[in-house]
């Protein structure tokens, strides 16, 4: 999926994909060190989507099955929001990887999910911003919910944007059947700022 026509040029999209790839690699390394597991990385996917199509797109990325989701806003060189969506079939295995013993209390599960999201979002979006020479700040992550259908992770009427640039990367730990999807959503009006940063990056090549 590479449908960012009319918003980013082909070169800008290619640059964003490669920069997201490097950011994803840094996030993968960060979470792999915590989980002490090899994490398989996907090829980043970029799309421009209307708000009412975002739930279907998230389902397309994540697939069937129940998920847990965390959101975290970022601001600086460009502004947006990250959704971290984890499959929750193996939440106890995730708990064990995160250093929790035994069944998780609800507050422990929330704390764990926020920690995972914070690590992935900070490393990935931070890595992207660093390559673009942009400063980036993050709000505190917040839990959207657990045991959600992928379609209900976000409701279009909750989004403040009509159109968004969506960048998705996926982290997989096969032996634990664990996957985490990081989906960055940028309001269309922020894409111009991102485009300027990408142009500056492209000028260095």
């Amino acid at each position: 999926m590479n449908a960012s026509a009319n918003v980013l040029s082909g070169d800008q999209t290619d640059a964003l994909q490669e920069i997201a790839n490097i950011g994803m690699g840094q996030a993968g390394d960060s979470i792999a060190r915590i989980w002490q597991q090899f994490v398989e990385l996907s090829v980043p996917r970029i799309a421009i989507v209307e708000a009412d199509r975002i739930p279907a797109l998230i389902h397309h990325f994540v697939g069937d099955g129940l998920v847990s989701a965390v959101r975290q806003a970022f601001h600086g060189g460009f502004r947006g929001e990250v959704l971290v969506v984890l499959n929750t079939g193996n939440r106890h295995e995730l708990g064990a990887l995160m250093g929790y013993d035994g069944p998780l209390e609800p507050h422990e599960e929330e704390e764990m999910l926020l920690d995972v999201a914070n690590v992935l979002a900070g490393a990935c979006i931070g890595g992207i911003a660093r390559q673009l020479g942009a400063d980036m700040g993050f709000s505190a992550p917040s839990l959207i919910g657990t045991d959600l259908d992928a379609h209900s992770v976000v409701r279009p009427d909750e989004l403040s944007v009509a159109t968004a640039l969506c960048v998705e990367v996926c982290f997989n730990v096969k032996i634990h059947q664990l996957s985490a999807h990081l989906i960055a959503l940028l309001p269309r009006e922020e894409v111009a700022a991102l485009g300027e940063l990408l142009d500056r990056f492209l000028c260095t090549l």
Binding site: D11, D14, E18, N21, I22, Q26, F38, L41, Q131, L205
Partner: protein, 122 residues
Amino acid sequence: MSVSVLVVDDSPIARKMLRKALPADWDITVQEACNGQEAMLAYRAGKVDVMFLDLTMPTMDGFQVLETLQAEDLNCFVIVVSADVQPLARERALGMGAIAFVSKPVNAEGIRTVLREYGVMV
């Protein structure tokens, strides 16, 4: 005689960044491949001395290329260039015949150091 270099990456920007980081004083001819299958076609055509290989690619990834090269008696220098900087990715790539592992984003000094360290470029 110039050295034949193959740059394998699905990202045109990554291929451009890698080409820019290659030493200007290195006598080379450069080809590009955008996935593992294209890389293997170029390799089997017998015109690859040094391969710069990305790991995360659609169609045929870098690990699959290394596996195939090993099965076909690896006969070129493979330098993995990857955003996947996990220690296990590095170990796995080196264990599969790559001579070196370079983390993205690449820089000219890092590439030159690797080429000199492994005697690929004097």
